[in-house]
Symmetry: C2
Subunit: 130 residues, 2 copies
DNA sequence: CCATAAGTTCGATGATTGTCAAACTTTGAT
DNA sequence: ATCAAAGTTTGACAATCATCGAACTTATGG
């Protein structure tokens, strides 16, 4: 039965305030495919996701780096549950400062591009896209 | 009186086809503030703009580099008029592959963010934003 | 108390990138 | 023909960044 200790650090990493979120930082964060994948998985998920539950092509230490970049850019919120670190997309907040941006990016990356009369059939791809 | 010579190169640099435009390349292009400034100036302009008419904080050779990155990403179209190279934003084309993305980015960058009850008044800034 | 699980921190490294100056090319005007 | 204007090309250089492995921290379970 874990009792929330009031002494010491609360193990809550620093998050930027909403109005401190800049387009520059957001784009620097989302230009990386791994980080876009994280954002897209959070966007499609119903709830928050712990770091280990993501499907990522990099080592743990690298993943930690990516999560920190996303958090410092203001795109995700992180908090601890036991030894697990949960991640939540700051969807509504970002929409207030950059209306439509997140949605347009996820839509752009989800592979639902009009393939046109090309030869390759757009078959049911189960990729998480972005 | 310049007659369009049909021999030799047409001095038309290579442009990617519409369906060859990728989100990755677009974001790599727009993550740079100078290139975002170029795109925003084109977005706000009524017509095409030659390279020298842009207000950019870098040298000519660096500007050339930025224009090439934008062109290869599929964001702009370039063509010669005399010694001048004209630049056109591929606005409609990009909207077909990434609906709403360009608009959301320009809106996000134009400084028209809800400044909230902060101390700094959002005064009439004549900056081109983005 | 000891072990395990989940992440983090700390260098180190290799690749990419934005920047500039100098030399070059192409076009238009004198 | 000569000259100037507008960009381009070509190195070179400094800075940034994504990646990994190894060691570390914190919490949970026997």
């Amino acid at each position: 039965m874990a009792v929330a200790r009031s002494s010491g650090q609360e193990r809550v990493p620093p998050h930027p305030d909403v109005q401190a979120i800049t387009l520059q930082k957001v784009l620097e964060a989302l230009v990386d495919p791994v980080r876009r994948s994280i954002v897209c998985q959070l966007y499609a998920a119903s709830g928050d996701i712990n770091c280990g539950a993501f499907d990522l092509p990099v080592e743990k230490s690298t993943a930690t780096h990516h999560f920190r970049v996303l958090r410092e850019a203001g795109l995700i919120r992180q908090y601890y549950v036991g030894t697990s670190r949960m991640n939540a997309l700051r969807h509504a907040e970002i929409d207030t400062v950059f209306p439509g941006l997140l949605g347009a990016l996820v839509t752009a990356g989800d592979g639902s591009r009009p393939a046109g009369p090309g030869p390759a059939a757009p078959g049911p791809d189960t990729q998480t896209g972005l």
